[in-house]
């Protein structure tokens, strides 16, 4: 009888991720054994410390060993430079999102109580709380870390699910507008499951062609040339559907506005920042590592997806009247801008590293601005919860100039106005795309230039609705019964301050972050 050989696991390399997962498991144990009144005071430090610790581990690993040159865990997980950078970004974004989650009044007392019934009032009166939120967030964060680091389509699928399942649950836990929240969770779950199926089916088809789910081996199989099997192309398309769904690219973006609106705002912040970072990282790895040899085939299609995503995101945002929905469409448009970077590939590794660093930089700055913007949204409240309708934000600049000013600054960063981090993010990606257009010398050249033109036009459309909110806040009379601005808790204030700091400082002095991104990208992905 054959023995199954024990796999070798590089625990040191994987330590940051293992720490997060370990803390999540510990959190479950706390749920099981600790008394109710103690749970929150154990969860909060446990969650924050594990995220901070994992971040420190990432930093230490980067500083001391540098990025490993071979994938870990028998080729299943690739902890390379880009992965470490994304881990760092995800961990910091998760940390600040937890600070938002930690705020009172965002989550339902008892999710099982039917909205509007006596049971709900009772749970509310008792002051119950779902402390499971913390381990769930940790599991999701662990999934986000594994997702862009998976070097193997099956591991990637597992990561996708580990990341998504807790989020489906978390989406349904909003304290206010509970039906909307539950509906969002349901939709997200159904559509997520649907798209996962595509991903899995795609994996199966690609396996049928390459005989392996390992990205490096798929790449090798493609490198041998020969006739392109329709099965391979169909598999590639279906993989793409699963990934594009997570990124929120058109035409797979429909879930985003509904889910972002329904989910508790801190969870929206986590999804809009962390999940996007993880998903774009995974797209990069699949397309650049696994299917790099096939770029002649996927680039035209991705071109269409990117252009459509930018246009749909910015055009649809114009008519939105709900602040979170508007930010959701803005997130769709930004996903489109990021896909431009994904398309900016070259023949030379060095130039590829430039494009990669542009995307990494963009992810970092966009993530921080997004978390900051959603943190501001949590603070503008009225009787029924957050003041979601844009008309309620009229004249906010006159009532609380500080908050409105900060929000306006974030919006300008989204729009990519100079002196904000958003400008350099867009600039870096556009430059990479133009360079790939002019230097690669293939027929994609003109197309890449065209895509940048589309992106600039989409940015102009997007600027309209960002500025419209600013105009609304500062140039209309405040409502008599307008929303109140809650005085922020220390956590929320810290989140907004950090986001503001990053957005402003990087907007003026981007070099250190660009350097870090460039260093992370210099080794490209390991195979």
């Amino acid at each position: 009888m054959n023995k199954i050989p024990a796999p070798t696991i590089e625990y040191g390399t994987l330590a940051p991720m293992l720490l997060v997962f370990g803390a999540a498991v510990l959190g479950v144990l706390v749920e099981a054994f600790a008394p109710r009144y103690l749970r929150k005071s154990i969860h909060v430090p446990l969650t924050l410390l594990s995220l901070a610790g994992a971040f420190v581990l990432v930093v230490v690993q980067t500083m001391t060993k540098g990025a490993p040159t071979a994938p870990a865990a028998m080729g299943a997980v690739a902890v390379d430079g880009p992965a470490l950078f994304l881990w760092g970004v995800i961990l910091v974004l998760a940390f600040v999102s937890v600070l938002l989650i930690n705020d009172e009044g965002q989550f339902v007392a008892s999710a099982a109580a039917v909205p509007g019934t006596a049971a709900e009032d009772e749970a509310e009166a008792e002051g119950r709380a779902h402390t499971e939120i913390y381990p769930l967030v940790l599991f999701a964060v662990g999934g986000m870390m594994l997702f862009p680091a998976s070097n193997d389509l099956l591991v990637m699928f597992v990561a996708l699910e580990v990341m998504s399942l807790p989020l489906y649950l978390l989406c349904g836990l909003a304290r206010r507008r509970r039906l909307l929240s539950q509906e969002a969770a349901m939709k997200y779950f159904l559509l997520g499951a649907f798209s996962s199926a595509f991903f899995l089916y795609g994996t199966a088809l690609v396996y049928g062609y390459a005989g392996s789910v390992d990205l490096a081996k798929i790449s090798d199989a493609l490198g041998t040339g020969g006739v392109l099997d329709p099965l391979l192309l169909a598999g590639l398309a279906l993989l793409g559907v699963g990934l594009m769904f997570k990124v929120g690219a058109a035409p797979f973006q429909a879930w985003k506005p509904d889910v972002y609106q329904g989910a508790p705002t801190p969870i929206t912040a986590l999804m809009a920042s962390g999940v996007l970072v993880a998903a774009v990282g995974a797209v990069l790895r699949v397309l650049w590592v696994g299917l790099g040899n096939l770029d002649w085939d996927w680039r035209p299609v991705m071109w269409g997806v990117a252009a459509l995503t930018m246009i749909v995101g910015s055009v649809l945002a114009i008519t939105q009247t709900e602040i979170k929905r508007m930010l959701a469409y803005s997130s769709i448009a930004h996903a489109g801008f990021l896909l431009i970077g994904v398309l900016a590939t070259f023949d030379a590794a060095e130039q590829n590293a430039d494009s990669l660093s542009a995307i990494l930089f963009y992810l970092l700055v966009y993530g921080f601005t997004t978390v900051g913007a959603f943190a501001v949204v949590t603070m503008v409240r009225e009787a029924g919860g957050e003041a979601g309708h844009l008309s309620r934000w009229a004249g906010l600049g006159k009532r609380s100039p500080m908050l409105a000013g900060v929000f306006a600054f974030f919006l300008l960063a989204f729009a990519g106005i100079p002196l904000t981090s958003g400008f350099f993010g867009k600039y870096a990606v556009f430059v990479a795309a133009l360079r790939s257009g002019s230097e690669s010398g293939d027929s994609m050249g003109a197309w890449m230039t065209g895509l940048v033109v589309v992106a600039v036009l989409a940015s102009a459309i997007a600027a309209f609705f960002y500025v419209r909110v600013i105009v609304l806040m500062f140039f209309s009379e405040p409502l008599a019964d307008g929303p109140t601005v809650a005085s922020p808790s220390a956590g929320t204030a810290a989140v907004i301050a950090l986001a503001l700091l990053v957005t402003a400082v990087v907007g003026v002095y981007p070099q250190p972050i660009l350097d870090i991104a460039h260093q992370a990208a210099s080794g490209l992905f390991v195979r």
Binding site: L191, A234, A237, A254, P300, V315, T319, I461
Partner: protein, 633 residues
Amino acid sequence: MQTPTDIIPHTGGVIGVAWLMIALPLLGAAVLLIGGRRTDRWGHLLGVAMSLGSFVVAVLALVELLGLGEEQRRRAIELYDFIPGMVKMGLLVDPLSVSFALLITGVGSLIHIYSIGYMAHDPARRRFFAYLNLFVAAMLLLVLADNYVGLFIGWEGVGLASYLLIGFWYFKPSAAVAAKKAFVVNRVGDFGLLVGMFVIWTTFGTLTFKDLDVTGASNGTLTAIGLLLLLGACGKSAQIPLQSWLLDAMEGPTPVSALIHAATMVTAGVYLVVRSGAFFFPVGSGASLAVAIVGAATLLAGAIIGCAKDDIKKGLAGSTMSQIGYMMLGAAFGPVGYAFAIGHLFTHGFFKADLFLGAGSVMHGMNDEVDMRKYGGLFPKMRITAITFIIGYLAIIGFPLLSGYFTKDGIIETAVHSDYPILGWLAVLGAGITGFYMSRMVFMTFFGKPRWAEGAHPHESPKVMTIPLIILSIGSIFLGGYLVVNQTLYHWLSPAVGAAAEAPHFDPFTTPGLVTLAVVAAGVLLAWFMYGRAEVPQTAPAGNALVTFARRDLYGDALNESLFMRPGQWLTRLAVFFDNRGVDGLVNGLAATIGGSSGRLRRLQTGFARTYALSILFGAALLTGALLLVGNL
């Protein structure tokens, strides 16, 4: 003729942290602006401390520079890569920039201290100090930057601070309008500077002073750059044709007029010309002739305006225009001229700040009255103010052995012995007019019979205001002699701006010098007959055509209105017409199309999970189809 010495990279020491000079007041401004009302109680003290801190760093940097050999005194420190591949931000610490830094932080600190008293009753005093600190930081960046981009950022920064401070009492419509006017007129000049920088970049591929090498460039290009930079200098330094904003800028608080609109910011144009002198304004070039003509024209125009103003601050503003005209004139004549121009800039910084703060002190005691026809006989009521003011007055008219005498005389001598002696003789005439209008001011303010408004109780100002006056007046007495007699300033500056074939020597008994003294004396005597001996009426008499001409600022505003504003308005009306009929149709149509398609596309977002799933399925089919199509091409 000797060019400036090489710029040497530098690390360590006080010069290595020269950026502190900029950072300290910038931090002060940030704390005061962000801290808001919480900093009201101690905000002014922080402002003063930051400015003094910068001054200390500047002094230490000077000491360190003096410890180096003459050839070693141009030190560049690198800060960071500002625009990768284009500009590395760095500071240039050399005799020229350190001299400016000392003037800015030294006079700046005195004016900060003075403002504690002057603004004591203003509820927005903290904001005032925040702006002052912002100004000091921007001005230091302007003079310390080792490249044109940094200089430009500082240039815009001081423009912003100037705008904020002129309009500090923004609830007064006149102040708000004056602030806007200053901002708009300055934009014209800034545009010149910006385009000049563009041309420098495209021609030479660098904007850093150290790497700039203009040998081999065509004369036309150099002249074009020179004229563009001169346009910038004209805007900032209120030289003809961009002079119109300075008189209105006196709407700001008086310490602002003293610091920004007399001692420092308005001299930025002179700095720009001197700093770029070796590159774009060589002696005998067309650009340097343009500088000389602008300077000579402005020095006369400012002096004539000064004669007709009854508002003491506007009179001083006219005089500032005129004195900067002298500096510009000097800056047209190479290294010797630079030394006198910068020397005059310094002495002017002292005596004009002294005069302005003196005027502020008078206003402080006279319920903010600015009309000199309502003054008179104030000498016994405010002796310290009067004596310091008179010292400043003697310095500006060039009374022998006081500061202004040495530096102004140097400029006149240089101009008379240049290729264009006529400009020098115009400067002599200007000196005579200066003697007239400044004497008029002193006679009308401190002597004669009191013509005070009812309820005026003139009194001396508090010590916090008079002590800066005393310090400034001491500078007004001695600084000029110190800088000029042994050519101290010339030798000190020569590593930075170059040296002439023959060093100048100080000789008080030359024809131009003696003629100047005679002309000034005549001006003073005339003023004595008109305003000292005769009664001064409380309302201004209707003057002849020349007086009206001067009172209307030489029709500068009228000229601007008819030449630029009205045609501009016609042009905008025309543009609006076309915009409404043509462009808007297109733009609005486009916007409506986008908005409309947004509205239609929005209906796809039904809210039903089944529709979304269908759209995913549809997308998957599309993607697969597209890939198969592309794969089989």
